[in-house]
């Protein structure tokens, strides 16, 4: 393999390479676009607050729409934090260490927007406090509120703790920092002295967080799947829904990390830190996760199709050959089968093809959530012969699209801002690794 990758040999080079940098021209344009779309989304959301959810295409029967599917998407993405910085870390997959920060930033942004999106879906966002003051512990929504809040805290800590030594390192070179950075880093790094005791406490804490984030991560997406699986609706009435959602989440999460690391590697010239090896390994991981997801998909669609229970028949027909068939097969084939086939080959796991496949997986995953949420509601258990057909043929309105795009841009904006403020690749870990390598050589 011919590469222009080098292993950095010098602490100063590492710090110079990895310190946060001000936006360039493209960076500023990117931020402007994100801010613009977020504001358009906000504008439409204000309209929605004023006029009610009537400005969406949702009606009785089609009670949930893309807000809820978008929520599921965000929750799914957020799971990647636990995958990379917990599961891989605990399994001592050292190669993934440079990716932990990226994964945690994505997780934090996604979980924040999951919470925002679900508030957007509420008919009475002004009464959100009822969820706390009148919390009813029997409701899966209450569990979701608890577990999402917990996950947000753990993710923030898991982002913050490994940052402490990095920020201390950056702070040693105040001449390269603007005033606000200096203050922020000083405040966040708590005068980190890099004492062995401190290191010990910090590493132990990170390990504890890495352990507890795994059940909480499984929790958020399992509970999210229960919002559907606890009902009687066709397509949702499944005991497999938890693992089905979790496996899908890991798959799209891995794809998101791949896309992000490709972009950051190009934008911040990180070829010496994110190697082809990383793409190769992430590609392998994505194949594995996609295969698991494929397995759950077969379970979810084949078994009901085999049984042909009355309530499920129309739902499945609509997906396989009906109104949603084109989207369904596009999502299943382009978002799952094709990625598996392409990524099996080594060439397919090179950065560019991997990026394309990852984007296919992400887009597919978004529409997949749409296909999970929307068509089921068009087939209630009672006959629909008197129902206004437009209520059963939900298609999002322009405000819904713009609000949704706004939330996606908002999440990207958070990631972008985090990257602006904090180092993308853990600096102290990279230095440590370099030292370890050099010690070995000696």
């Amino acid at each position: 393999m011919i590469t222009n990758e080098h292993i950095p040999q010098n602490v100063n080079t590492i710090i110079n390479d990895l310190e946060p940098r001000a936006f360039g021209r493209i960076g500023k344009l990117w931020v402007a676009v994100l801010v613009g779309f977020s504001l358009i989304g906000l504008f439409f959301y204000i309209q929605q607050v004023r006029q009610g959810l009537g400005i969406t295409a949702m009606r009785d029967y089609s009670t949930w729409g893309i807000y809820v599917s978008n929520f599921v998407f965000f929750v799914a993405i957020s799971l990647v934090g636990s995958l990379i910085s917990a599961i891989l870390k605990l399994s001592k997959a050292k190669w993934a260490d440079p990716l932990t920060r990226i994964a945690e930033m994505i997780a934090v942004a996604a979980i924040i927007f999951a919470a925002i999106v679900i508030i957007i879906d509420m008919g009475r966002p002004d009464r959100f406090y009822n969820v706390i003051i009148h919390a009813r512990i029997q409701s899966p929504i209450t569990w979701d509120v608890i577990v999402i809040t917990t996950y947000l805290f753990i993710s923030l800590l898991l982002l913050y703790l490994p940052l402490i030594p990095d920020l201390a390192i950056l702070r040693k070179r105040p001449e390269r920092l603007s005033k606000w950075q200096n203050n922020l880093y000083g405040w966040l790094s708590m005068n980190w002295k890099d004492l062995p005791v401190q290191k010990n406490i910090l590493n132990k804490s990170i390990s504890i967080l890495a352990v507890i984030i795994i059940p909480v991560a499984f929790g958020i997406h399992t509970v999210t799947s229960w919002l559907f699986a606890t009902t009687f609706r066709p397509g949702w009435d499944s005991t497999n829904f938890g693992p089905y959602f979790v496996s899908g989440a890991f798959m799209v999460g891995a794809a998101t990390v791949i896309a992000a690391m490709y972009v950051f590697r190009k934008a911040y010239k990180l070829e010496n830190y994110i190697h082809l090896k990383h793409f190769d390994y992430m590609g392998r991981l994505l194949v594995l996760l996609s295969l698991i997801y494929l397995y759950f998909n077969i379970n979810e669609y084949f078994i009901p199709a085999y049984k042909m229970k009355t309530s499920e028949v129309e739902h499945l027909k609509e997906l396989f050959i009906g109104r949603h068939a084109q989207l369904f097969w596009a999502v299943q084939i382009l978002g799952m089968i094709v990625p598996i086939v392409v990524l099996i080959f080594k060439r397919g796991r090179r950065p560019l093809p991997l990026l394309v496949i990852s984007i296919m997986v992400i887009v597919g995953a978004w529409f997949k959530r749409f296909l999970i949420v929307v068509p089921s509601l068009a087939h209630p258990l009672i006959p629909t012969n008197r129902v206004d057909p437009t209520w059963l043929n939900y298609f999002p309105t322009i405000p819904e699209w713009f609000i949704t795009i706004g939330t996606l841009c908002g999440a990207l904006l958070i990631i972008t801002m985090l990257v602006r403020v904090f180092p993308i690749i853990p600096i102290s870990e990279t230095i440590e690794e370099m030292n370890a390598r050099q010690n070995k050589k000696l």
Partner: protein, 308 residues
Amino acid sequence: MDKSDNNRRSFIKKAGLAGLLTGSTWVASDAFQSNQIEKSGKTVQLLSQDGELVEVDEAFLKPIPDIHISPEEAREGIEGRKFVMVIDLAQCKNLRKCHDACEKMHYLSPEKEWLKVLKMQDNELAEPYWQPTMCFHCDQPPCVKVCPVDATFKRSDGIVLIDNERCIGCRFCMVACPYSARTFDWSEPQIPLEIAEMPYSPETSCPPKKGTVSKCDFCPDKTRKGELPPCVTACPNGVFYFGDENEDAVSNGSVTVKLSTLLADRAGYRYMEDLGTKPRVYYLPPVNRAFPFEDDEYTRTQNEGHDH
């Protein structure tokens, strides 16, 4: 303080007499705030049933306003009751008077159908029939299970109500209800001004509130007064029977029958019994029908082949 309390009590008593005399609903107006009522100075004599004469200030003789049940009070059911409904499918010919009466009673806009008349067909060979459907006020309600804020609740009298001042509009209950009984105010509800200005009560479900869920409430404001819900009285064919399971009796407005006998003799069943929701609405199967099935324009033209 003591004295005014005494006064109040006596006013209630006296006013109650007027009620006895006329058989209509008269009572000292807002007896609990009688202190605030400006006395006219004129007293009138009333005759009690035991021939006793009492004197009451004229100002207290106003018709009873319907008792307002606050959202907190509405969480308690009506004492000792367990409301139940029986729907005789053999008598229903899709006149939709029940639907219209419900719409009128609750000031529903046409898209809010708390009471639907569904065209049912059990299998390809079976004759279709009409089935009025509303909230079944299940004893094990899946909608109440999932509510995150106690906005929808099960009462001791069997009724499932919604507190529209607490509902956060997440619509989980609508998704959880297998009978699609719940509706949502997607936009600001279009209602007459005087209804919009009424004090809100979950028992009347009025006035409706934007961004919240609503549904058939079994009209506790009516049943509290011993009156049948309007869907029951509006039906000219006596399809609906309504009553109290604790009394083992249901009435369709013209006859009162024993609930247990009716269900036993006519093979009463509940819709989707296998879901385990334990509805409080029973159906009598459409056998020995009073009318042949006639399709209506709406179901003929709309959604062909959408029957389950």
